[in-house]
């Protein structure tokens, strides 16, 4: 059912990208669009949902610029390809020095990145397959890209789930007008980033300030309960550990295929430093699992292989 997407590793590289747009999303997030030409444009035209980049959040060509020393990993939130260039979108939460530096880049400035990195989601072979996309917090952005690609490949039974702490901290652009809060457990076209692929979605917030109150996993379970027995969607998820684990358990319980996109602290992002390990089972009986690199074996893994801690 699931076709392995072979990433052509030669397409990766270090590139300079030009900032073409920088905008705020809610109180905590920003979205940035970078343009790449030439080899960079070609490499990113091949990028897969779930892949990420390592962004230099300083003037990396100036050796006296030392902070932040390491690059910052960001998931690709969307791409737009024209004949001679590729625009890549990212959505990021303003946290420390790296994301703050990035948030201050103005249009026309250059940003240095490595990418596209890692292995993305493995798409089902048939467009008939229904798919659920669960994104929580900064795990949402790769879901937007995945929705785009699914739509482009003819999947039209895709439903998104978006989790946030509150209305203001949603990692997406909310299209207020069209939102019917009394039908919040019904997929609706309310998030701009899902909307571009016409993917309806359900929102869940911890404080209930938008959509369903509570966890996005509970919301998706409620949604599944309302579907016919034959409904066996592929579940793709990205977000905090707790959410991913609950998603994996839900999928297991309902016998659904599930892929999760993990996050681990990364130094290199390209498989040389061994920072970003997570335990993966190497078979049904392997309870303990062994360490695999999230940056290069992942970040997307089959949920059944993940050993949760």
């Amino acid at each position: 059912m699931v076709k392995a997407q072979i990433i052509d590793q030669r397409q990766r590289g270090e590139f300079e990208a030009i900032v073409v747009r920088q905008a705020h999303i809610g109180t905590d997030h920003q979205t940035i669009i970078l343009r790449l030409n030439g080899a960079g444009g070609a490499a990113f035209a091949q990028a897969q949902p779930g892949q990420f980049v390592q962004l230099a959040c300083r003037d990396i060509h100036n050796p006296r610029s030392v902070a932040p020393l390491l690059r910052r990993p960001l998931s690709i939130a969307g791409i737009r390809i024209t004949t001679d260039q590729t625009e890549v979108q990212f959505i990021f939460r303003l946290r420390g020095p790296g994301t703050q530096w990035l948030g201050h880049r103005r249009e026309g400035e250059l940003v240095n990145l490595l990418g596209p990195l890692g292995r993305g989601f493995r798409l089902p072979e048939s467009g008939e397959q229904s798919v659920l996309l669960l994104g929580g917090g900064i795990g949402l952005p790769p879901m937007f890209f995945l929705a785009d690609v699914l739509r482009a490949q003819g999947f039209n039974q895709v439903v998104g789930f978006a989790a946030a702490r509150s209305r203001e901290s949603l990692t997406a652009t909310f299209e207020r007008d069209t939102y019917n809060t009394t039908r919040c457990t019904e997929p609706q076209l309310v998030l701009e980033e899902f909307n571009r692929s016409s993917t309806p979605c359900i929102i869940a917030t911890d404080d209930g300030s938008l959509g369903c109150k509570g966890s996005v996993v509970a919301a998706s379970e409620a949604f599944l309960d309302r579907q016919p027995k034959e409904y066996k969607p592929l579940v793709c998820a990205c977000g905090p550990q707790g959410m991913l684990r609950a998603t994996a358990e839900l999928a297991e319980k309902r016998d659904l295929a599930c892929q999760v996109c993990l996050e681990e602290y990364m130094a290199c992002g390209i498989g040389v430093c061994q920072s970003c390990v997570t335990r993966l089972r190497n078979g049904e009986d392997d309870k303990e699992g062994s360490y695999k690199l999230v940056c290069s074996h992942g970040p997307v893994f089959d949920a059944r292989r993940v050993v949760w801690d």
Binding site: G13, E14, R71, C268, I270, V272
Partner: protein
């Protein structure tokens, strides 16, 4: 000093090994090389140093394994590696195809471990030499690092020399010592051909909010630009007090991030330099350093790299 504008001769000499230029990778920061291939032209490197290889495969420490610090980083990878057997079977054949000197970095928890690994590697074709990572706790001597006690270090190096015959041997000194010339001398007296320095400084990061150590292993090794002034000092001391008089070449490292940094180590006495943390941030820095060193030599009218090694004004 001559005013030549020809491409300067960047070749260097490390105990019989003759890298085409002085820029090498630092163990553990460049994987087994091919991972970097998309980001830097590996064929241009002076030499490649593998991550540490141990007798048995090692999982390594539990995450979080690295953390950024001010102008540096801590790592507690825990020598994760595939072990001697798989290394020889799977990795060595690939490394041999690279057209440059390859040093395999060897680590262990007992002297016997080291010896077994070194003996086996010495029997392999196509290796330029070995680098001994002696910053490992010696489980038979209460966990004291091999590299901090000159006696223990001397014994280890002499025993390795015994099993590897004339194979070039580089010993990587730990900076976590009172006087690095003492351990340097012990390594040289016991048969090291080349000294590389420095390995990382033991350090710690704390998350004040959770009141826990950030690293799964609690402590880790500090590397990156932060440590450069200390590393440079140690290289210079070892050069003037041990290496120069013994005809021993040094590989300098610790915080090198650009050609100027590399040149500082070379002026201080290093015949070659290794780059670690900076490669994690930008693999292409390796070739940029090679180019920058060449430009410097030309600008200052030198035709050979060798002419400036250790030429810091006294």
């Amino acid at each position: 000093m001559s005013g030549t504008k020809q491409q300067p001769d960047l070749s260097t000499a490390l105990g019989g090994v003759k890298p085409a230029n002085p820029v090498m990778t630092a163990s553990g920061t460049c994987g087994y090389a091919f991972e970097l291939g998309d980001f830097v032209d590996l064929s241009r490197l002076g030499a490649f140093v593998t991550k540490s290889i141990t007798l048995e495969p090692r999982e390594g420490n539990k995450p979080q394994r690295t953390v950024e610090t001010a102008a540096g980083m801590l790592n507690a990878i825990g020598l994760a590696n595939i072990g001697l057997k798989r290394f020889c079977a799977e990795t060595l054949p690939l490394l041999r195809q690279m057209n440059m000197p390859i040093f395999v970095n060897v680590a262990g928890r007992t002297q016997e471990d080291y010896l077994k690994v070194c003996e086996r590697l010495a029997a392999e074709d196509g290796l330029a030499g070995l680098e001994l990572n002696v910053s490992c706790p010696n489980v038979k001597e209460g966990g004291i690092t091999f590299g901090t006690d000159p006696q223990v270090l001397g014994r280890l190096v002499a025993a390795v020399r015994e099993v590897i015959g004339s194979m070039p041997l580089m010993v990587k000194l730990t900076p976590n010592v009172t006087d690095i010339t003492v351990t340097a001398r012990a390594a040289v007296d016991a048969g090291a051909d080349v000294l590389s320095l420095v390995n990382t400084f033991t350090g710690m990061a704390i998350d004040a909010e959770t009141r826990r150590c950030v690293l799964g292993n609690r402590t880790g090794g500090l590397s990156g630009p932060a440590i450069k002034p200390i590393a440079l000092y140690m290289v210079h001391r070892v050069y003037t007090e041990v290496a120069r008089s013994n005809g021993i070449a040094l590989v300098g490292m610790g915080g090198i991030a650009c050609a100027t940094d590399a040149l500082e180590f070379i002026l201080a006495g290093a015949s070659a330099v290794a780059v670690g943390t900076a490669v994690l941030a930008r693999p292409a820095v390796l070739t940029e350093i090679i180019d920058g060193v060449a430009v410097y030599l030309q600008r200052h009218g030198y035709s050979r790299l060798q002419d400036i090694v250790g030429s810091l004004e006294a």
